[in-house]
Every structure is written in C-alpha cells, then in structure tokens.
Symmetry: C2
Subunit: 178 residues, 2 copies
Amino acid sequence: MAAATKTFATYGYEGTSTEALVKSMGIGRQSMYDTFGDKRALYLEALQHYCFESVGQIAVTLQATGSPLTAIEAALLGFAARIQDDSMCLGVGSICEFGRRDREVTAIGKSSAASMQNIFAATIQRGKDLGEIPPEIDPKDAARFINATFIGLKVMARGGATHDDLRATAQMALRCLG
Amino acid sequence: MAAATKTFATYGYEGTSTEALVKSMGIGRQSMYDTFGDKRALYLEALQHYCFESVGQIAVTLQATGSPLTAIEAALLGFAARIQDDSMCLGVGSICEFGRRDREVTAIGKSSAASMQNIFAATIQRGKDLGEIPPEIDPKDAARFINATFIGLKVMARGGATHDDLRATAQMALRCLG
DNA sequence: AGTTTTCTGGAACGAACAGTCAAATAAAGA
DNA sequence: TCTTTATTTGACTGTTCGTTCCAGAAAACT
C-alpha cells in the first residue's frame, strides 16, 4: 500500500499505469486485482489511508508539546526540514488532479482538510488561552492559513525548492501568529 | 491556445486526450498537429504562454499602485476574490504532475517562479524603503512566502474553498508583512 | 505427505490512446 | 474565375491502457 501511495503521488492517477503499480508494490497483477478490485479502488484506498495517517501525525505533533505555539512552529519547520526533494503529497496531488470532479476523492480531501484544520484551530485556541497567540486572531482563519502554508511548501518542494527556502518560508508564515 | 490551456489545467497532461483538445480548441485534429507538432509541444507552448501572461499580470498589479504594501494586498485579495471555483493554475498543476521529471517543464516553472519572485521582492524592498514593511523582513524570503501563499490559495480554490475562506487566508498572510 | 488455497507471470481481450493518411471542402491568392 | 493552399472530417494505424483468464508454482492447511 505504501508503494502504491508513493507511485500515485509521484505520477498522479492518470499517469500511473497498472504495470507501474504491480512493479512498485511487488505483487502479482492478479493479486492486486483480487485485493483491491480495480485501479480506482486502490487509489481511493491509498488516498484514504494517506490522509488518515497525515492527520494522525499532525495530531501527535500538535498535542504532544506543552506550548501550542512551539508545537505549530515545530510542525511547520519540521516539515520544511524533513520533506524530501521531489516528493508529492497524495492529498494535494489529488486536489490538483481531480479538483472536485470525483465525488469520492473530493469527499476524502474535504474530510481530511477539515480534521486537519480542526486540530490546528484547537491548538491556536489553546495558544490564545495561554496568551501565546494574540487574541484578535480567529482560530479557524489561522488554521486555514496554516493548511494553505503546508500546501504551498509541498508544491515548492515538489518543484525543487531548497530546504533553506522552505524553512525561510515557514518562518515568514509563523510571523502572523506573533 | 486559451482553450488548450484550460483543458490541460483541468485534466492535467496525462488526463487530457487529444480528442478533448480537438474539441475544446474547436479545430481539426490535423490542424492541431500541423500547428503544434504533438501533444507535448502543445502543452509546453501553453505552459510557456500561461506563465508569461501570469508574470505580466502580476507585474502590472504590483508596479501600478503607489503604495507597495497596498499593491501586494490588492494582488492577494484580488486573487482570492476573482479566482473561479474549481479552476486550476497550469503552472501549479505542472509542478504537481511532473515534479522535476521533465526538464523543459521544470525549466519553464523555475524561470516563471524566479520572475514572479523578483517582482515580489522588488515590491517588498520598495515597501521597506517607504517604511511600510518592517526592516527585519528579507525581501527574497517574503517573495517566496507570497508565492507559496498564492500556491496555497490556488489549491484551496481547486478543492472547493469559499471566497470568504480564501480572503481570510489572504488576510492572515498579509499579517506576516506587518 | 497430500490437499487446498493463494500467488505469480504471461497471454489475451476490448477500449482508448497519440498520431497519420486521404479525400473533400473552404479560404486565400493571382 | 481559376488555381493553390489550408482546413476539416472521418478513417486508419500501431501502441498502450485496464482488466480478465489460465496454468503452474508456492504457501498454507489437514
């Protein structure tokens, strides 16, 4: 499944052949069809799984550290430091490829974005309660902005931006929380 | 050409069939091949043209208004107000689809991003000179950040975000420049 | 050890793909 | 008006696509 996720993220749905999937997953073609049904079902399952894991990871990062602001900083800067050159996030890739054309892809994307933004908003609210984040900041707006920043970083990285560039961009984004 | 751009932006390179191009461009199949050579050449030409126009538009917006900060605000908020639901930017789409896999696509994307960011950086520098933008802000970092914000807004819009959400996100981004 | 289930790799299938060909029509030039 | 050039339309071509079929091998079960 992880191999399918990576292949779909790299080449997109249309650009990924079943041959490429069979190769990257290292299973027989018939087993792939027996297990997942068809290419689209495999894509949906990979996307669902990917989004679920991503939300889980963000939740762990933002809920583990004492200071909410530090947690958000760690999430953004950690992402900028860690993301691999040329990699693509399947979530962002699915939005770019399908827009809202496919109802199930759209549903997974919206659900995942909503969960992600709820976690950000809750963290922002905690930061406001603790006086770390200015009171005039709306948690939902800030959550959407952070999500947009993650998207921007992902596409930049996909296009070959350096880690320094990504980190500087993340630093700029964090200014609005101070 | 505009029709080809829109079709490629909507479906991506792999997802766009030559039949769809013939239909959207409203010309004969043979004429399309006579004029552009093949699908890939048409894509490259559409991408080049799209990026050139985008940079031109941003230049006009950012260089026409007296106040640099106001100009950047107008660019971001204007974009958030104007962008159409479900549309896709061919530039962002090309990065997401190809990453750095295709040398010519990558070259067009990097060149366009560099031009765009130079315009942003020059505007930021003017804002610093006029005291509108804090002196500790690095123009190149800010330029990259603004570009990342545009990317984030474009993908959000593609995923169905409302204009209010986009505007609020743009407002958050503008806080980083204050 | 024998039997059953699962997996593999290759072949086959029909549909879709990008690109080419050919004849007819329309537009441009003399 | 006639000739030349460009465009259109439909058909065609070989390749690739996603999916199914099949026989043999491997793994799991009794």
